[in-house]
C-alpha cells in the first residue's frame, strides 16, 4: 500500500512539477504569476482532443496541439500582457485572471460542459514490476515530466537561445546591453510555458477526462509547488511538485482522503513560515 501511495504521489507530483515549471519560467521572466496557466493547460487538452477526433494519429495530434497552445501563449503575451505591462503589477495579475475566465467559459461554449474521454499514449492495463502492480500511465507521466525538465535545464544552460532567455529573465538590462532582444525572449518564455502546460494536460486527461474545469484540480497546486520550491527556480519547481504530490498521497492514504487537497497547502504554509523564499532560493525575493 505504501508503494502505491508513493507511486501515486510521484505521478501527481510530476504533473504539478511540469505545470510549476511553466509558472516559474513566466515569473522569472516577467515578475508576475500567470493565473491563466491552468486554463491554458485545459485549452491545450481540448485542442488536442479536437484534432484527435479528426482521426489524426495520437502522437501527431499532440505535437500539433503543443504548437497550437504555444501560439496561444505567444498571442496572450503579445495581445494582452504587452498592453497592460507598463501599468501596475496588480493589473497584470488581474489581466491573467480575466484571461482565465474567458478561456474557461469559452471552452464551455465551444466544447460543451461535460467531461470527455481522452485517449492515452500508454497502455491502460497494469504491468508487474518487482512484484508490484504498476500502471504504465504512472511510469510514463513520471518519465516524460522528468525528461522534459532535464531537457529544459540543458536548453537553458547549453543552447544559445536558452542561455539568452535565461539571461534576459534574470537581468533584463544587462541582457539588452549585450544585444539580446529581451522582448523576443519574453515572447518565447510564454510560448514554451504554454507548450509545457499542454503536455501536462495531455498526460493527465486520460485519467481525469478532458473538462473545462480541469484547471481547478491542478492550477492552484502548480503555484503552490512553484512557490514551495522557490519561485523562479527550475529545480525548485520540480522539488516542490514532488514534495506536494507525495505529501498529499501519504496524507490522503494514512490520515484522511477527504482532506487530500488540504495536505499540500498545509505543507506550503509550513515551509513558507520557516523559509519564506522557498526551499531552493537563496536571495530574498522582494518581487511578490
Amino acid at each position: 500500500m505504501l508503494f502505491q501511495f508513493i507511486l501515486n504521489g510521484l505521478t501527481n507530483g510530476s504533473l504539478y512539477a511540469l505545470m510549476a515549471v511553466g509558472v516559474t519560467m513566466v515569473y522569472k521572466s516577467l515578475g508576475m504569476l500567470n493565473f491563466a496557466h491552468g486554463d491554458i493547460m485545459m485549452i491545450g487538452t481540448f485542442i488536442a482532443l479536437t484534432i484527435i477526433k479528426l482521426k489524426v494519429p495520437l502522437f501527431a495530434s499532440l505535437i500539433v496541439a503543443v504548437l497550437a497552445t504555444a501560439i496561444i501563449g505567444f498571442l496572450l503575451e503579445r495581445l494582452i500582457l504587452r498592453r497592460v505591462e507598463f501599468s501596475s503589477f496588480i493589473n497584470l495579475l488581474i489581466a491573467t485572471v480575466g484571461v482565465s475566465y474567458i478561456l474557461r467559459n469559452g471552452a464551455m461554449v465551444v466544447f460543451g460542459t461535460n467531461p470527455q474521454r481522452f485517449p492515452s499514449l500508454f497502455s491502460q492495463f497494469p504491468v508487474n514490476v518487482a512484484g508490484f502492480k504498476v500502471s504504465p500511465q504512472s511510469i510514463g507521466i513520471i518519465l516524460v515530466s522528468l525528461t522534459l525538465i532535464v531537457a529544459l535545464h540543458l536548453f537553458f544552460t547549453r543552447v544559445k537561445v536558452g542561455k539568452c532567455m535565461e539571461l534576459a529573465s534574470s537581468d533584463a538590462q544587462s541582457a539588452a546591453m549585450m544585444g539580446i532582444n529581451v522582448s523576443h525572449m519574453r515572447f518565447l518564455t510564454f510560448g514554451i510555458s504554454a507548450g509545457l502546460a499542454c503536455i501536462a494536460g495531455a498526460l493527465i486527461a486520460p485519467l481525469t477526462y478532458a473538462r473545462p474545469d480541469m484547471s481547478a484540480a491542478i492550477g492552484l497546486k502548480a503555484f503552490a509547488a512553484a512557490i514551495l520550491g522557490g519561485i523562479g527556480n527550475l529545480w525548485g519547481a520540480l522539488l516542490g511538485g514532488i514534495i506536494l504530490g507525495v505529501v498529499e498521497a501519504l496524507g490522503a492514504g494514512y490520515i484522511s482522503s477527504a482532506y487530500r487537497d488540504a495536505f499540500s497547502f498545509l505543507v506550503l504554509f509550513f515551509v513558507l513560515f520557516v523559509k519564506p523564499t522557498g526551499l531552493l532560493n537563496r536571495k530574498i525575493e522582494n518581487k511578490l
Binding site: 470527455q116 500502471s135 474545469d213
Partner: protein, 374 residues
Amino acid sequence: MKKFLAIVLGLVLAFSSIASADDVFKIGLVCPLSGSSAISGVIMKNAAEMAVNEINEKGGINGKIKIQLLAEDDEGIPANAVNVVQKLVEQDKVNIILGAQLSSCTLAMMEITKAAKIPQITPASSNVTITQQGNKYIYRMTSTDATNAKTLLKYCQSLGYKKIAMCYDSGDFGTGGFKIVSGLVDEYGIEIVDSEVYNAGDTDFAVILSKMDAAKPDCFFMWGYHTECAAIMTQMMQYGFVYPMIGYGMNSPELVNLGGEAVEGIIICTAFDAANPDPVVQAFDKKYQALYKDSYDQNGPQSYDAVYLMADAVKRAIADGADWKNGEILNKYIASASYTGATGTTAFDETGDMIKDLMLITVKNGVHEIVNMK
C-alpha cells in the same frame, strides 16, 4: 425628460397588464447545466421542455393555460441553487419549482420555497432528510436512498457477499447514502470493511482504491455520480483492482461514454431504465431520442412525469374552482396527486415521498440490461 419618462412608464405598465391577461403557469427549473453533473441537468431540462411543449401544443392546461418553463443553472453548487431559486421566486414569480438534481442543492433550496409557500418537486434528489424536515411544500419523484440501499444489499446477500468496501461522494447524496447503508448492513449479514470518501470533481482515486483493496472485500460499493464512477472504474482497471462494482447514483448514458470497457458489469439500482419493455416507457424513449438525439438517465422521465403531474394538479384545482395561483392551495393539489406516466404511477405519502418498485441494471457490451435478482 420627466414627462417622457412618465409616458414610457405608463406604456410599460399598460403593456404588462395586457400581457397578463392570458394566464400562464410558470415552472421554475433549477438543475446543473454545467459542472460534473451537467449531463443529468441537461436531461432534466430536455425532458421537462418536452412535456411543456407537448402540453402547450394541445393548447395548454385545460386548453387555455400555457406553461412557461424558466430554467436556471445551479452548477451543482448549493450556494448557487439558493441564488437562482430566489431569483425565480422573487423576480420571475414562478408558481412552482422543479428541482434540484443534487441532494445538497435541493436541501439548500427548500427553505426558500417553504418560506415563499411554493410547492417544490425534486425529480432526482434521494437524500432521506429532504422529506424528514417537516416541510410540507417539498415532494420527491425519485426513490430514496433507503429503498435503493435495501435493494442493493439484498442483491449482495443473494450473491453471498459478506464484506464490502464502500466509497461515496462527500456531498449530502453520498454521506446520506453511506449513513443509510451502514445502518442497514447488519440485517443482511454484511460488514463494511473499509469506507472512503471523495469530493465531487476529484480526479485521482489511486489512494482510496488502494485502501479499499487492502481491506480485501468481496465487492466495491459506491454511492456517487457517473463522472467519478467512470473515473474510479477506469483507474481500478489501470491499477489492476478487480472487484465487482455495485452502487447507486451513477445511472446515466454518460457512464458508458466516459468509462467505456471499464464499466462493464457494474450493477446499478434505478427506478427507470429504457430497457423496460412497458409501452409508455418505450414511447417516451423513442420521442426523447428523436427530439434530442441523445440518451438519458432516470431524471428524464421523472422530470417529464413531474411536469404532467403539475399540469394535472392545476387542472384539478380549476375543476374545483380553486385558485391555483395561490401557492398554498396548489400545494394541496400536488399533495393529493396520483398520476400514471412513463415512470409508473406516482403518488405522495404525507412526508412528500413517493412509493414505487425499483430494479437493478447492469452494463453489458456497452448497453444497459435489466438484472433479475435470485
